[in-house]
Amino acid sequence: MIPELGQLALVLALVAALVLGVMPLVGAYRNDAALMRQAGPAAMAQFLLIAFAFGCLVASFVANDFSVVNVATNSNSKLPVQYRVAASWGSHEGSILLWTLVMAVWTVAVALKSRHLPRVLAARVLGVMGLVNVGLLLFVLFTSNPFVRLLPGAPEGRDLNPLLQDPGMVFHPPILYVGYVGFSVAFAFALAALMGGRLDAAWARWSRPWTTAAWCFLTCGIALGSFWAYYELGWGGWWFWDPVENASFMPWLTGTALIHSLAVTEKRGTFKSWTVLLAIMTFSLSLLGTFLVRSGVITSVHAFATDPARGVFILIFLALVIGISLTIFAARAPRVGLGASFSLVSRESMLLGNNILLVVAMAAVLLGTLYPLVLDVLDAGKISVGPPYFDAVFYPLLAPALFLMGVAPLARWQQAPIPELAQRLKWAFAIALIGSIVTPLVLGDWSLLKVSGFLFAFWIVAASATAIVMRLKAAPQRTLWAKLGSNSASYYGMHVAHIGIAAFVFGVTMVKSYDVEKDVRVGIGDSVVAGAYKFDFKSVGDVRGPNYSGMSGRFEVTRDGKPVAQMQPEKRFYSTTKQTMTEAAIDHGLSRDLYVSLGNEIDSKTWEVRVQVKPFINWIWIGCLIMALGGVFAIADRRYHLRRKTAAATAHAPGAATAT
């Protein structure tokens, strides 16, 4: 009964999405307030219905209703309850339903927060979001119905992929999707502005907090996925340039470009067409990512679905979204106008340069991801494109972008004389250069790659510090506190995010340069030395979990004879899926992680063991969190909230509805 109710709710949600996608847009076209007013209630109805449907799916999973195909194939009665809940988005069907749910949540959020917006603009934004969700709901109902019954029901479920039985599965997909789908708001704002024919600073200002919010979630989602892969896959890697990772990374790259482009549009009134293109590109890449992952075109850890009907549907949907939005863009872009001019050396041109680098980087990732597939389809050979390729291509693209990150915040708008810039930045550069040469010398093992990695990390921090200090000095206030208060929250947000990048680069450089890895065979009672640490292999015992059994090793780690940690890596065998999993033991620390994983058992007393010391690896994810924190600062900027009130005041004034 519950699955049928869910199914019914989905059909009704489709109706609500159709109402949302058609009536406000028609209303905006005819300037019919009654039609436009339908947007809010329709968005709310759509949200409630999809949330109800999703609740029905979760309930089926929790209740172990194995007469539902989706539950029978992805769950098991022995599965702990939190993973039964998470299993509801562990399958293709469930994850697409989650997509539509997240889409509905963003739509409702926009509806609630848009009361102060010009009515026509709000109607168009919500209408576009409704249309997107119509496509997604059709996809769910026709190709990926999560409520399909299995008659007669199975006595027991096939269990969730053991790799996914992890807290990471509970948090990573929802957060990632909130980020992915959040870019639909920027997309909808861009299209709405195009339809209205006015891309102005106000539009950019309304769009910015939403875009930044989506970006924050995507950043956290990717970081969480990377961290999860690091501890769960069991061999110490943290980024594999896997197609699925690339799928989430591409919208991040263009989303980052979009944030910067929006800033220029708001502050200077330039880059308008470029901003719109980036918004379209970013959301299209989110959809493309879904296509890559969900169509099963690229088989990897995350792609469970292998069904051409789905792939074709998403491809057509993608073509429609891109085609229609580019058509509107082509029709309206000539009217947009150029905006203020700027010189070859100015903050605008640097931001443009960074934007282009980010987009080229995205294109390189896209090329590397699709290339093997295209060759295979054309029967032109079977190749692999992996980390060495991406490292080789990505690094030269990233380096100038990192350099510009230090310069641009100190460059003047419109025209930034080079001598003045050099004067402002000479100390930052000197500090970064000395730091980057000294650090590898102190740590031993000097190489150009290490120096350049440290150089960029120190450069960004030193340049940001310089920029902040200069601002504070220039502020007219007397006390430091008042001086600090004279800058906007988003100004600090920018620097915080940039410092996050620096922390990330520092972590990556450290891990790539100084990690120690030992693959050895160890007998019980023997020990392995890795770096400054000694790992004593004490014993091996049995472990038993709710749906697995396995072996657990016990290692005692010492440094200079002093105890550091006790580590218990496991080898688990999941009985239902008949899969063996490596559960590494990790001792986390700010300056290093110790990482022990059990390989194969050689005999009852000897094991293959991989022991790793990974310096500063947590800085990679901490860096991502700092970036997201920077985004939170930016969203919290009083400016958005203050101007909202004034915008609300003007919106209520007579004739304001037609102003956009």
């Binding site: 061999w235 075109v297 992996g386 390989g599 194969n600």
Partner: protein, 166 residues
């Protein structure tokens, strides 16, 4: 598109079959070539080369992992093969050639620069050049607009009249 998805489906099926087949214990036949024991770690220099090479080689039965990042039996075997060949004094290139002869280009995560990978290797840099061109053109166009704006005909007239007064 359907053909493409179908092909991908076949590949997935094949991979799944390989993954599900109980692997032969340890691939011991491979490990026993050579007079030394290639299973135990060798000197640090050899291990460093092994590590570097492992990061460029695909574990063919895994889902997108290097043989450095996997402990599937095949990955373990490939590491042994690479180690033993390093100890035999083969160059990195010879080792890769050996593996390509055996498994095809698919085994290399860093695809060789050849006919069918020209676009792959040069594409990003062509894009970068194109991007640099776009940057230059746009910035120049804007700065020209700037220059024009700075000296519009009106301004020129004013400047002239001012100069004429002197």
């Amino acid at each position: 598109m359907i053909a493409l998805a179908r092909r991908a489906g076949k590949l997935a099926l094949l991979l799944a079959m390989i993954l599900c087949t109980p692997l032969l214990p340890g691939g011991s036949a491979l490990a026993q070539t050579g007079t030394y024991n290639p299973e135990t770690p060798a000197d640090p220099a050899t291990e460093a080369r092994l590590k570097a090479l492992s990061l460029e080689l695909r574990c063919l039965v895994c889902q997108n992992q290097t043989i450095a990042d996997s402990n599937a039996d095949l990955a373990v075997d490939l590491r042994r093969i690479v180690r033993s060949q390093i100890l035999e004094g083969k160059s990195d290139r010879e080792i890769k050639e050996y593996l390509v002869a055996r498994y095809g280009d698919f085994v290399l995560y860093k695809p060789p620069v050849q006919g069918n990978t020209t676009l792959l290797w040069f594409g990003p840099f062509a894009l970068l050049l194109g991007g640099a061109g776009v940057w230059w053109l746009l910035s120049r166009k804007r700065s020209l607009a700037h220059a024009e704006a700075a000296l519009s005909p009106d301004d020129e007239q004013k400047a002239k009249s001012l100069l004429d007064k002197d």
